[in-house]
Amino acid sequence: MNWISNYVRPKINSLFSRREVPENLWTKCPECGTMLFHRELSDNLNVCTNCDHHMAITPRERFNALFDSGIFTEVKIPEPIADPLHFRDQKKYPDRLKAAQKATGEKEAMLVAEGEMGRTPIVAAAQDFSFMGGSMGMYVGNAIIAAAERAVKLKRPLVLFSAAGGARMQEGILSLMQMPRTTVAVQMLREANLPYIVVLTHPTTGGVTASYAMLGDVQIAEPNALICFAGPRVIEQTIREKLPEGFQRAEYLLDHGMLDRVTHRMKMRDELITILRMLMRLPPPVAGDLPAPEKAETAEKPAEAAPAKGKKA
């Protein structure tokens, strides 16, 4: 055990055990109907062990599985001004936000963190579909910009997991302006020659697809994820015909040349490590369980985490 895991892990674990106390011990797979025990399901990253149906996974659960030993440091996101348009539909926007915060235990629809994945330093961002449909407003835009800026600063690649119904309507035009804003973020990575990998998860639609989620150097999707600009219902209403089976699903997009790969969630981490290490010109990953990364960690971490202290050895 090195000092980082001793110090940080208990905190993260306690956070998790609180969030993960399941209300129901059993979850029914919406695809095949199999009853899945919660442990079995979470060990399989919310993928049905019977039919491989990929259910939603929160950004925190994903990061816990993605980063080595579940250790990651959240990147601070600049706070946008609240309710910029004073928007109200049947509810006030601030009330909808509060309800989403209460239901998810998260502040907003995107989580950004830095850490190591297979001892490959990365910055990762994940969108939370359970938070107002993952919708993209000022906060999500700020999160992507902060992620890109952090990646550029640390000279690390960015891995982004997208999941969103589209723009945050309650922020009106400002949600639309996240398309150019996040595209500027992608441009920062491009100009720093840092890999930007997008993992498209179910569903990724609307303005999100038409900006940062389609601009990756490598585009990977989870199986059967719905990925589109216009939703299937809108299209059916417009063209008045039935759409083919699997239309706008990950495999369909792969066939039409819009994706590089479709990858099972349980294989995603290894695949990301493999790709990123090649693009970053790092040596191949070590297979199997990693040895305690005593030397590497202590050599690298203090320089990043606490540059002012250092020099203890």
Binding site: M179, R181, G206, A210
Partner: protein
């Protein structure tokens, strides 16, 4: 023939009466109706001015969509010389919803790109009502690239209900095409200015309107979603479009407060559809002004400032 909008019905009645009187007088020479008709004309003019003085957001949407408003082609024909349309995305097709090419504005060569809606049934179908497919965005990308290489400023004219929601459009990568077009807007080292002349419909508009300077005609709209679409999602009732239009802040006036656009171009009384030539001329001088403002700047500064503009956008809300 005037096409009246729903809220212009009282106006249609008065103008109709005046026309009736004059028609009667034409048939019957002894009749003198001019005094009466002139009074009606005056009444109509007053009403028109009142109606347009303070248009609600929903009424602005209707005006922005008015079929008699000048469209992209009208602006290009009137304002530019030597317009040479350039077609195709070199990959799949030419999209008639997007027109573009090289032309001169006050003798200076520029690249001009815009959405064209068409003006009658046939041309509307041909132009797909201004709803672009991926080929349209890819054609625009090609033209912006060309402008960048030859140092020509780019002028875009925005007038679209949105990108086309069709099967083929999706299969050929509608979202990727829009994303790349926005990306291209953010990377070219030449001045890029944009005027929203009618509807600025969501991502389909952003793809061309990510610019150094953005102007809007007084009664045009620019929104993340149509009021009808927003109403059916958030109010679960498409008939609540008035409320949605209000909440979305899609008018030129609100968008300037938010810092999304820089300038508002005044329309003639009764909207651009009633004074087409004046509206076109006003857009022309505004384009010239914005281009003059951007000219002589270094490529790298243009790109840097354009990106800064979008990074900073929204940080002040309505107080911008």
């Amino acid at each position: 023939m005037t096409t009246y909008l729903e809220f212009e019905k009282p106006l249609a009645e008065i103008e109709g009466k005046a026309e009736e009187l004059r028609a009667l007088a034409r048939k019957n020479e002894e009749m003198d109706v001019e005094k009466e008709a002139a009074a009606l004309d005056k009444k109509a003019a007053d009403l028109l001015r009142d109606l347009y003085k303070d248009l609600s957001p929903w009424r602005k949407c209707q005006v922005a969509r008015h079929p008699d408003r000048p469209h992209c082609k009208d602006y290009i024909d009137a304002l530019f010389t030597e317009f040479t349309p350039l077609a195709g995305d070199r990959n799949f097709a030419d999209d008639h919803a997007v027109m573009g090419g090289i032309a001169r504005l006050n003798d200076e060569p520029v690249v001009v790109i815009g959405h064209e809606k068409g003006h009658d049934t046939n041309s509307r179908i041909r132009h797909n009502f201004g709803m672009a497919r991926p080929e349209g965005y890819r054609k625009a990308i090609r033209l912006m690239d060309m402008a960048d290489r030859f140092g020509l400023p780019v002028v875009t004219l925005i007038d679209t209900p949105g990108a086309y929601p069709g099967k083929g459009a999706e299969e050929r990568g509608q979202s990727e095409a829009i994303a790349r077009s926005t990306q291209k807007c953010l990377t070219i080292g030449v001045p890029l200015i944009s005027v929203i002349v009618g509807e600025g419909g969501s991502g389909g508009a952003v793809a061309f309107a990510t610019a150094d300077r953005v102007a809007m005609l007084e009664h045009s709209v620019y929104s993340v979603i149509s009021p009808e679409g927003c109403a059916s999602i958030l109010w679960k009732d498409a008939e609540k479009m008035r409320e949605a239009a209000e909440a979305l802040r899609l008018t030129a006036q609100d968008l300037r407060k938010l810092g999304v656009i820089d300038r508002i171009i005044k329309e003639p009384t009764g909207g651009a559809q009633r004074g087409r030539d004046a509206a076109i001329a006003a857009v022309g001088s505004e384009i010239a002004l914005m281009l003059a403002e951007m000219s002589g700047r270094k490529s790298s500064d243009l790109v840097k400032e354009r990106r800064r503009r979008y990074l900073d956008l929204g940080n002040k809300g309505l107080a911008a």
